[in-house]
């Protein structure tokens, strides 16, 4: 872990552990998130990424260690506490309601109203205008605020969720596997929004199992495996190849490529095997 900048990090965990009964979900995890930086949390399935998100977003309390927000030790009793502290999670598929219009989605759960008593009503004009402005800041021009979110592309749906989190005061934005269900082009669009959020001074935690998505946008990388921290690097200290190797383990890739070779009579499979072998050898050096 490298110390950067004078001020306290937006969010920091020190030696945090979490147990579910006798199962060790997370052991001794430390990481920092700074304003204007993207911290990538990398790990394969079962590495403990989800548990870490749940601790950071207040869903689960941690069992050991310290959790600090802007230098102060905190203990959240629920997601509302985390949100009040400026920590917002954008879930991959829980982000928006497809049948609802963009403006209704944007303000769902925090609707702006005007008038009092029985005349209290949604401030539709204000809602539409704010939504448009915020989406514009993300580089999306919404022509029709009434358009159902379901008609947007996957990347744009994530953008609505991100813009919403930013508007409602998120200082730390946790993106849970935002690219995992998307194609190449849409993933690229989401990465663009990640960078935009960083440029606007947010601390971004980008959870992914894909180092190819993490490396181009990340400033620091935290690698998890089986609930343990296996590495924490600033961008200058590592390369994409190293990240990939550490994610899967070089020997593991090699073994996998051999197995595929044995099974593979199909040219495509052989191609995959060759690529894996190549990745394993280049990362080894």
């Amino acid at each position: 872990m490298t110390e950067s900048k004078g001020q306290a990090p937006l969010l920091e965990v020190r030696n945090v552990s979490k147990y579910f009964g006798s199962v060790i979900a997370l052991r001794d995890i430390s990481m920092q998130v700074h304003a204007g930086e993207v911290t990538c949390v990398l790990g394969d399935n079962g590495a403990g990424k989800s548990t870490l998100i749940k601790i950071l977003s207040g869903v689960h309390p941690h069992d050991e260690g310290e959790f600090l927000v802007e230098g102060r030790i905190v203990r959240f009793s629920g997601p509302r506490d985390a949100r009040a502290a400026g920590i917002s999670v954008v879930f991959q598929d829980l982000a928006t309601v497809p049948l609802m219009s963009i403006w209704r989605n944007f303000f769902l759960g925090s609707e702006p109203t005007r008038g009092v008593g029985p005349a209290r009503r949604l401030n539709v004009k204000f809602a539409k205008q704010v939504m448009r402005e915020e989406m514009h800041k993300m580089g999306i021009d919404v022509r029709d605020p009434n358009q159902p979110v379901g008609t947007l592309s996957g990347g744009e749906r994530q953008a609505v969720a991100i813009a919403r989190a930013v508007y409602f005061g998120a200082k730390v934005l946790i993106l849970d596997e935002p690219t995992s269900a998307l194609g190449v082009r849409q993933s690229g669009i989401v990465l663009k929004y990640v960078i935009q959020a960083r440029e606007r001074g947010l601390g971004v935690i980008f959870i992914t199992h894909n180092p190819h998505h993490a490396y181009p946008v990340g400033d620091r990388f935290v690698l998890l495996n089986r609930g343990r921290l296996i590495g924490s690097y600033a961008k200058s200290e590592t390369t994409l190849a190293e990240l990939t190797q550490m994610m899967a383990g070089g020997e593991e890739l090699e073994r996998l490529s051999k197995e595929l070779e044995k099974m593979g009579s199909e040219p495509e499979l052989e191609q995959v095997a060759r690529e894996l072998a190549q990745e394993a050898s280049t990362t080894g050096t």
Binding site: R80, R83, V89, F91, L94, A95, T96, V97, P98, L99, M100, R104, F107, L108, G109, S110, E111, T113, R120, R121, L122, V124, H136, G139, I140, D141, V142, R143, D144, N146, Q147, P148, G150, T151, L152, S153, G154, E156, R164
Partner: protein, 362 residues
């Protein structure tokens, strides 16, 4: 949604959220916005069904399209409409209530019991009935939330429990299948004037019609212009996403179940006061009419989409059919077949709409 089968399907809006904004030229056209409304199909359907029954009307002087005819079909449609609006809100919220029909009977019978057995003032009886109905709705909602079972099953159980209670208790207390409501009971006249009377002297429209219009207006306001309305769309469209942004999902759904049961309470009170008594089998089977009206009005069975005005128009179509078939001198059994066909067409159109609304436009 129309019987003619020529209802235009809302076309995909030719709109793309342009990145950059330079290419934006015009706003969204009015036609496109109209086609996006869930109640449009029901409106066109209502016009078509009206035209059909005005055409086949075999009464002297074309009664169907006269004021007297209007009195008849608004009367038939009004109680369906009151319930259809409540059921539509619940359906938009992602839930069902199969006990809504029998609940009208339970409420009316309870009112009759309170007035005739315990000699209560009619108004006190009305308040107690509404409290009771709210409690039944809350139980429905609580069980659905707590057990996480489909509301279809939970309210089917409530339906059968109440159906048995209605007949059983009535038989026990009166040894008949009917509770009478005496017009000499204290408060009867004023309550009757509001719940079971008529207005506009020569034509004598039912006061229920005013209730119907009023409830439709209030529901439309709530749905489209209030925070709670936004929550209804949210919990029906995707309860998990709504929960994740802080919408109280359980509370929203329980309130919707209570609203539905209380609407059934109002309808039961209307029946009991208007006919000065109520049969123990009242309301059984009616729940399907409410659901048909809501679905014909554009509500998706899966929740998250629909309108109160649409449900009202759906109820109006049912009213047209019920009266129109009599005036056309057809065998009234075809009424059910007709509604079945209408429902089938409506579901077809709704499915298309949802596919359009949820698929990416580029």
């Amino acid at each position: 949604m129309s019987v003619a089968g020529s209802t235009p399907v809302p076309s995909p809006a030719p709109r793309v959220a342009q990145v950059g904004g330079d290419e934006r030229i015009t706003g969204v056209r009015l036609v496109v916005r109209l086609l996006q409304r869930p109640e449009l199909g029901a409106l066109l359907g209502a016009v078509a069904v009206y035209a059909l029954f005005a055409g086949v009307d075999s009464t002297p002087g074309h009664k169907f399209s006269s004021n007297a005819g209007m009195q008849n079909w608004t009367d038939a449609a009004s109680t369906y409409g009151i319930m259809a609006v409540a059921v539509a809100l619940l359906m938009i919220g992602g839930e069902f209530d199969l006990s809504a029909g029998v609940m009208t009977g339970t409420s009316g019978l309870l009112l009759g019991m309170l007035i005739t057995r315990y000699g209560l003032n009619v108004w006190i009886g009305i308040v107690l009935v509404l409290v009771f109905a709210a409690a039944i709705g809350a139980v429905n909602g609580y069980l659905v939330i707590r057990t996480k079972l489909p509301s279809f099953i939970i309210t089917l159980a409530t339906f059968f429990v109440l159906r048995g209670v209605n007949v059983g208790v009535t038989l026990l207390l009166t040894s008949t299948v009917r509770f009478d409501v005496s017009d000499k009971a204290p408060g009867f006249d004023s309550a009757h004037a509001i719940f079971g009377s008529t207005f506009l002297a020569p034509y004598n429209f039912q006061t229920a019609v005013l209730w119907w219009i009023g409830i439709t207006a209030v529901a439309t306001w709530v749905l489209n212009r209030t925070t709670f309305g936004n929550w209804i769309y949210g919990v029906g469209g995707d309860a998990n996403a709504a929960r994740a942004v802080g919408v109280p999902v359980a509370r929203t759904k329980v309130i919707l179940f209570m609203t539905t049961a209380m609407s059934a309470g109002v309808v039961g009170i209307m029946v009991a006061l208007r006919y000065k008594g109520i049969q123990s089998g009242q309301g059984v089977g009616q729940e399907f009419f409410y659901i048909i009206a809501a679905v014909v009005g554009g509500c998706l069975l899966t929740g998250g989409y629909g309108s109160a005005i649409g449900a009202s128009l759906g109820a109006l179509i049912i009213g047209f059919a019920q009266i129109g078939i009599i005036f056309a001198n057809w065998d009234s059994n075809w009424y059910f077949t007709f509604l079945g066909v209408i429902l089938f067409l409506a579901v077809g159109v709704n499915t298309l709409v949802r596919r359009r609304a949820t698929s990416a436009r580029r």
